[in-house]
């Protein structure tokens, strides 16, 4: 019996309007409660449907301690199944991805399942005659998650039967995914070019918070982006900028730049920075791409799509996307102080290859275990995870630009350096954690 499980009031007391208690990052019991109360009731990103293009294609993933398989059925529909044999509980599918050729087969006793999880065959079935097998959960097969939604190829699942509908949960925040997909002349995205898997020695919320934290780049990334800026500073102003310089240098823009960039807050913890412009706004144009966009959408609409330059959009708690550069980072909590961040690159279907090359370079420069930008972020997360143990101050400050008016409504547009996105995330967090889950 822990301190928090039976005590919603105590959980609520950890999140105050302008600060949070350190236990939210340190306490293993709260991590367990997140995995039971927050993640299962939220809509969690599972994968992209371009990763399972053909019938029988699957990928396996573990999310919030749940082994899952996402599979394209024979009817073309994408299913998300719990990756557990209905018999003795073995994980049925062990490969990261593949094609199941019409059925999954458990490696232990050979029970087979259709792509929708239903039980297909059991060896020597006569042994179950006269038993309660048919009425038991074993006969139901691999449990299929009922609540699955696909938006522009992004597959989300809500593990619990309880919770908001997909549309209620994400609302207008889905416009960030729309803008990323609309940047393809065909309106479609494809995951391509491999996945960067970066192990973070920190609580998952530190990573999520950092994505809309605009007060850190000019400090934490001064050594990387600042070095790139200094290496380039003697070049004439009209010298064509290598992509590296174009991508690194905006990270060390000044406070005024990030403040004017703006941040947009939605309910349930979602938000994005770059309401008016962003660090991606000044990339050199690619005329062939712009021509294809105009051809596909018409002049006005094409320019409206490309004028958006959102920085990071947070789909709380599992996904962050960068629409303007077509990369996404997926958050997989492993333990209270361990998180896996997986970074994927998306191809804009029918766009010139140069767009993909830009995205590939960006994700390697910024999101990789070998990224100099990532190293300094990771260093800070680890330092927080350690530093929070210090006695004398149990609170983490989220005061920047706080106003009492947020109590009534937090959704809206704010100045870019406000910590309002983090306050919004913790509001969603507290409301989920303080709601005792249904038994079991």
């Amino acid at each position: 019996m822990g301190r928090y499980r039976e005590d919603p009031a105590r959980i609520r007391s950890l999140v105050q309007p302008d600060r949070v208690h350190r236990d939210v990052y340190l306490d293993p019991e709260l991590f367990e409660l997140e995995m039971r109360r927050l993640w299962p009731r939220a809509w969690i990103y599972v994968g992209h449907d371009s990763q399972v293009p053909k019938a029988g294609d699957y990928l396996t993933v573990e999310i919030a301690q749940q082994p899952l398989v996402m599979v394209r059925g024979t009817d073309g529909a994408v299913h998300v199944l719990f990756n557990r044999c209905a018999h003795k509980g073995s994980r049925v599918v062990s490969a990261t991805s593949g094609n199941c050729r019409g059925q999954f087969r458990c490696p232990y006793h050979g029970w087979t399942y259709r792509c929708d999880g239903s039980l297909r065959t059991v060896p020597l079935k006569s042994g179950y005659a006269g038993t309660a097998f048919q009425e038991s959960s074993a006969a139901q097969g691999m449990t299929r998650i009922a609540n699955v939604a696909i938006h522009r190829g992004f597959v989300f699942a809500r593990f619990s039967d309880q919770g908001l509908s997909f549309e209620e949960y994400f609302g207008e925040s889905l416009t960030s995914i729309d803008n990323m997909a609309d940047r393809s002349p065909a309106g479609r995205l494809e995951v391509t070019g491999g996945v960067l898997r970066y192990l973070h020695q920190c609580n998952w919320k530190m990573f999520i918070e950092n994505l809309n934290d605009t007060m850190h780049p000019m400090v934490a990334h001064e050594s990387s982006a600042g070095t790139a800026r200094d290496l380039w500073k003697d070049q004439p102003p009209d010298a064509p900028k290598p992509m590296v310089i174009e991508q690194f240098v905006p990270f060390v823009s000044n406070y005024d730049f990030f403040d004017r960039m703006g941040v947009k807050i939605y309910d349930h913890g979602h938000s994005y920075t770059g309401v008016h412009f962003s660090i991606h706004s000044k990339y050199a144009g690619i005329p062939e791409y712009e021509a294809r966009m105009v051809q596909a959408y018409g002049e006005e609409r094409a320019h409206a799509i490309l004028a958006e330059s959102r920085h990071n959009t947070v789909y709380y708690p599992s996904l962050t996307i960068k629409g303007a550069i077509q990369t996404i980072r997926v958050v997989r909590p492993l333990a209270v102080d361990r998180t896996l961040i997986e970074s994927y690159t998306l191809r804009l279907v029918d766009a010139p290859e140069a767009l993909l090359e830009r995205s590939v370079m960006y994700t390697r420069l910024i999101n990789a275990p070998t990224s100099v930008v990532g190293h300094d972020d990771m260093h800070c997360y680890g330092a927080i995870q350690q530093g929070l143990a210090a006695r004398g101050n149990e609170w983490v400050s989220l005061h920047r630009n706080h106003t009492p008016a947020e109590a009534d409504q937090i959704a809206g547009s704010y100045n870019g350096t406000s910590e309002v996105s983090m306050r919004g995330q913790f509001r969603a967090w507290a409301s989920a954690l303080a709601e005792v889950e249904e038994q079991p």
Partner: protein, 177 residues
């Protein structure tokens, strides 16, 4: 791109050398290159690369060369310079406690020599340790050195590092394998 193609592409712009480069000289280059990294003599290391030099660590097995697939490293000289200068920046917070590394190389083998005698590919299995105070990571892999003769000197056109666990979830790797 296959190793052979890399050689073909460059063979035309390379003058014939009148003296054959010995295997020993090629192998010594590989040992020297690793030692420069381990001893943090990174300016000397940087100078080993040709103007179009590339330091490449693929993300997947059998990954084709080129900018259309994500890599762990795909660094031209400009990016290498950013990394080297950053390591010396007092505000490189992830290096406020510095990392150190050690290569342990299996004997390098000369895999190919171009017909004109100025391009070489060597294969070197290795272990690599990177430590930072109480944390030590150990990696294994194969390094491919694509060397060219520039005048009398051997230079590095590409170092390709095939990491054994390239598909694993990895912590920060801060130096050079």
């Amino acid at each position: 791109m296959s190793d052979a193609k890399v050689i073909d592409r460059a063979a035309t712009d390379e003058a014939m050398s009148d003296r054959a480069v010995t295997d020993e000289a090629l192998v010594d280059f590989v040992y020297h290159e690793a030692r420069l990294i381990d001893e943090k003599r990174l300016d000397e290391w940087y100078e080993l690369f040709t103007e179009d030099g590339l330091y490449w660590m693929p993300l997947t097995r059998g990954q084709p060369e080129g900018p259309a697939h994500t890599s762990l490293f795909y660094e031209d000289r400009l990016l290498l310079q950013v990394r080297i200068q950053r390591l010396r920046n007092p505000n490189s917070f992830s290096q406020s406690e510095p990392s150190w590394c050690q290569h342990v190389l299996q004997a390098p083998r000369v895999q190919t020599r171009s017909p004109c005698g100025s391009r070489f590919v060597l294969r070197t299995p290795f272990f690599y340790a990177e430590s930072q105070r109480d944390q030590q990571q150990i990696y294994a892999g194969v390094a491919w050195h694509h060397l060219v003769l520039r005048g009398e000197a051997l230079r590095l056109r590409m170092k390709k590092v095939e990491l054994l666990n390239c598909d694993a979830a990895l912590p920060s790797i801060q130096l050079f394998l």
